[in-house]
């Protein structure tokens, strides 16, 4: 931790969080859709019910 900021990233590591936008040419075709759905499945936590039910917080403003 530096005095400057509490960020863990050092200057040379400070990369923009944004990753470059990739235009997938197959988007819209059924191969593109399947590919998209596969990627979605690969990033989701496996137990959907537990994941959703586990997210309970008190209300805010």
């Amino acid at each position: 931790m530096t005095q400057e900021n509490f960020s863990a990233r050092r200057e040379n590591q400070a990369q923009p969080v944004e990753t470059e936008q990739v235009q997938v040419n197959t988007t819209g075709t059924s191969a593109g859709v399947d590919d998209l759905l596969d990627e979605i499945d690969s990033v989701l936590e496996s137990n959907a019910e537990e994941f959703v039910r586990g997210f309970i917080q008190k209300g805010g403003q």
Binding site: N5, A8, L37, A48
Partner: protein
């Protein structure tokens, strides 16, 4: 107002998912998340170098309030910078938890409801002239805000009479009043808490708490850009048709629940337009105003084009016109496509998970970001603008003074405190400077405080 100060306050949802079965309460997770903040600023309520405020709010919600902005794209960049700051904290917290033997993942959601139906907000602040009569402003603004969900709702799944339906807004079902001073006990559309953080003789703060948080920068552009235009119309004193609603709260819910925009809204005048007709009417008034007075910034045309395109899309039910630009439409396409392909009902757990994970701010795992990476959701900012906003204040507002003061205090290691208007040096003879003008970018009294800090005590 040609120049207006804007600010966005975003409360995030927080969830820790253990890999080893050892759960953390939201309070514990929030405490871990804010550990670096407390170490940095000796408090869980701090102002950062970029002029923003970072804190833990009611219900252990991490909250990021942007610094004062005076331009639309600048505001969007500073709001997105808040997500970067939060992601950095998540990364540190996960590492720290692992060292303590907790293996798991911390999720932050930029949304407005948890799974039990508790709500938390995205508050918009607009500086308005004191001379505008507040009741007249509210009368004219509320019909716009009640129907604005068509333009910028985040989309949500709600159970209505035993059927799970896709609705426009997350927040609509959690609003209870038109105008009041409450924020948690009974949420109003407009909150009357009048903390201008500026000279109260000339300014007032309009605090709008009805909006959904935006994942899409394009949706954010329309949300704030259109609201600013409606405010300008009201501030100009030009009278427009009396659009006051008979029951704003009943209307906001029924509009959210009918995905056609055809909900009939009863006005106090006895007229019964649909939500769409009300929006068309307001857009027409705003366009006339812009035609007479000219565009006051370079995004006005883009805002008006988007606004009109959304109304056409809802009216024709051809959502493909906006399904890369508007949160509810992007999410609707994602969810209906996934449900159809996998033969799932909207009431399935997997679909509820998609509805939630759309708002995950993690750039690799969050579904909005996944779509954006694939070119299926639009952006308005150069990513570099977000990285810059993490480090630097808006150069055109008082945030520049606060940032300079905080940096100097930390460089010298002197004790200081600050809020939106006060810069206080707490050592030696010390001193406090009140910065009442949110448009000022320099302040000689603050410069003197900084000089004082640099001298031996």
């Amino acid at each position: 107002m040609d120049r207006r100060i804007f600010g966005l306050e975003t409360e995030f949802g927080l969830n820790y998912v253990p890999s080893d079965g050892r759960r953390l309460t939201p309070e514990d997770a929030a405490r871990h998340l804010f550990r670096p903040v407390v170490a940095w600023g000796r408090s869980s309520n701090v102002f950062l170098n970029n002029g923003s405020r970072l804190y833990l709010d009611v219900g252990s919600h991490p909250e990021y309030a942007t610094a004062e902005c005076d331009q639309l794209l600048q505001l969007i960049a500073h709001d997105r910078a808040g997500e970067t700051v939060m992601l950095d904290l998540v990364e540190q917290a996960e590492e720290q938890l692992l060292e303590e033997g907790h293996e798991g993942r911390l999720f932050l959601f930029k949304n407005n409801v948890d799974s039990a139906g508790n709500s938390y907000g995205c508050h918009e602040n607009y500086l308005i002239p004191r001379k505008v009569e507040f009741k007249r402003l509210a009368d004219m603004l509320i019909p716009f805000l009640v129907t604005r969900q068509l333009l910028c709702g985040a989309g949500h799944l709600v159970q209505i009479e035993d059927e799970t339906k896709f609705v426009f807004s997350q927040r609509a079902d959690h609003m209870w009043e038109g105008v009041s001073s409450a924020t948690t006990r009974s949420r109003p559309i407009i909150n009357t808490r009048d903390e201008p953080h500026a000279d109260a003789q000339y300014h007032r703060r309009l605090h709008v708490i009805v909006g959904d948080s935006s994942m899409s920068e394009t949706t954010q552009l329309l949300k704030i850009g259109a609201t600013d235009l409606v405010l300008r119309l009201i501030e100009s004193g030009e009278i427009y048709h009396d659009l006051r609603l008979e029951n704003p709260i009943r209307s906001i819910r029924s509009i959210s629940h009918a995905f056609t925009g055809q909900t009939v809204v009863r006005l106090m005048s006895g007229d019964e337009p649909t939500a769409l007709q009300l929006q068309w009417k307001i857009l027409e008034l705003v366009k006339g105003f812009v035609a007479r007075h000219g565009a006051h910034h370079d995004q006005v045309e883009r805002v008006l084009e988007l606004w009109e395109r959304v109304l056409v899309a809802v009216e024709s039910q051809n959502f493909s016109l906006i399904d890369q630009d508007i949160d509810w439409a992007i999410k609707h396409k994602l969810i209906t496509g996934y449900a159809a392909k996998n033969n799932l009902g909207l009431d399935s757990h997997r679909i509820a998970q998609l509805n939630l994970t759309y708002h995950d701010i993690d750039p690799t795992r969050g579904l909005f970001h996944l779509l954006r990476r694939r070119g299926l959701a639009s952006s308005v900012l150069d990513p570099q603008a977000i990285a810059d906003a993490v480090e630097n204040p808006p150069a055109t507002t008082r945030a520049a003074i606060r940032s300079k003061f905080i940096r100097a205090a930390r460089e010298t290691g002197r004790r200081y405190s600050t809020d939106w208007v006060h810069m206080k040096y707490e050592e030696g003879e010390g001193g406090v400077v009140l910065c009442k003008d949110p448009f000022a970018t320099t302040n000689s009294a603050v410069d003197e405080l900084i000089e004082m800090m640099r001298r031996p005590v």
